[in-house]
Symmetry: C3
Subunit: 208 residues, 3 copies
């Protein structure tokens, strides 16, 4: 039951992340192959980095291809001009929906990252578990930006990565009380912070 | 016998990939060290990424340094202006030769990638084995472009990566019939598609 | 005793590398989070790449968070305009000090890399051990530059990476005579070459 719930949220997050990757590919005038790969990397890259660092083999992205194939399918849809035009006619509703499912994706990738860290290393320290959680959530976006030749978005603007990091720390701190309350709290906190940050345009101080 | 044949093709591919990496380093006005490392990374980076993802340790590039040292030697030659001038006097013959050995390299790296995936994980699914095959072939070029600060070539133009991917899928599909026919078919398909694509300027549709 | 000595030098190197990463983040107008992460990645990224390639799990950066936390703390200080202003008033003394501790950091990361290679693979060949040593030392800087969207510094200018590579080769060659003399020689050579190169503006030939 919990697993099915998590799985649905992961698929939602995969869809949202693939859209963000494919859109960057379209902006950069990549070809069909580039757009599909950039969508896939954005959606599954964070988990792949996590599995490399935790020595989980083979990485989940290969063990169960449903996430990668979903991301590729979504990216191919985004590649079609007719699909992008349809979105443009409902920009506001589309952006709100995408923001919410992106927040859900960010939160579920974060807590699944923490869960994987504690599964492989039950004694993982707080820095370890929460860093892996946040990296699972934002690693795909960092890969996307590096491959697209731009500075990673998470280093420059908004509160995005901090929402994942704070959710990961909460989840890791609460882990001894049980994985389900820890993951639910971490997810709720990440979603809340990410949506508040987007709504109120929270930004971290920038270097001058 | 098959091993010797594969080894010769791998060395040929190493030479072609090292030339492509070193040429990018020269264009970007890197120093001797940068050119040598970029040539080496282009030639051996795809295999290193493959070995990291498959948890093959130590990665082949370190276990047997002949590939890396060949790539470094070739790159140092490319660094010499006198060598580059000699090529410029026979541009057409040189480009044709390089294109053919690059195609051979692409194809052999692809099927060796599939072979390594099935050696480590005999039950690897089709997505897993063929993605690892294609990544072995194009991963070095992606690293080259990221390190040189340009958008990866394979995402933008030509049919290059698709030739590797289609060869990898054919090789993985035929694997149960025997590794030698599977690898020969995968190689032939990759070489054919890559040369046809170059000759007829095949391009995938690009986002607009 | 030796371990304590090494540890102090590693912390010094962590501080110097974190400053260099955080300064790049400040130049690129990253936010607080970006500056902290770029400092941390610069200081700990080389070791993380080394541990991935050697299959050391979990990577040292997670097993013992003191290095990462030191780097984050230093980066947050660099983020403060008041701290950067204080440095600007003593530019010359500050640059000399930073150059010396950066050289110490480069040298200690190099020989610890060689040591880790031989600990995990006692039969590692010379190429393997010395490449891992040099990559431990310069890998963090390469990650810093890729994440900041610039061409890696070590590929373009100065003798920096060569100092680490020559120190690593010396350390690996002397390893059979005992780890302590090998590491001391490798460190001394790296420090000497790096400082001489900076003082006399040594550059490798650049492609034209």
């Amino acid at each position: 039951m919990t697993d099915l719930f998590l799985w649905i949220l992961e698929i939602l997050g995969t869809v949202a992340f693939a859209i963000s990757g494919a859109m960057v590919g379209v902006e950069k005038k990549m070809d069909l192959f580039g757009v599909a790969i950039l969508g896939m990397v954005t959606a599954t890259g964070g988990g792949a980095i996590r599995d490399l660092l935790l020595d989980v083999t083979p990485p989940a992205v290969f063990r169960n291809p449903v996430y990668a194939l979903t991301a590729i399918g979504v990216s191919l849809l985004v590649f079609l001009p007719v699909v992008r035009r349809a979105f443009l006619q409902h920009t506001r509703a589309y952006e709100l929906t995408l923001r919410v499912i992106d927040a859900v994706g960010l939160s579920v990738f974060t807590v699944v990252g923490v869960q994987t860290a504690f599964t492989v290393y039950p004694d993982a320290n707080l820095f370890f578990a929460s860093f892996i959680g946040a990296l699972t959530a934002v690693g795909g976006g960092i890969l996307r930006d590096v491959l697209a030749g731009t500075m990673p978005y998470v280093f420059v603007k908004h509160f995005y990565a901090c929402a994942a990091l704070i959710g990961a720390i909460a989840c890791a701190l609460l882990w001894p009380l049980g994985s389900i309350p820890a993951m639910l709290t971490g997810m709720a906190l990440t979603i809340l912070l990410r949506l508040l940050a987007a709504h109120f345009h929270w930004n971290l101080p920038q270097a001058k």
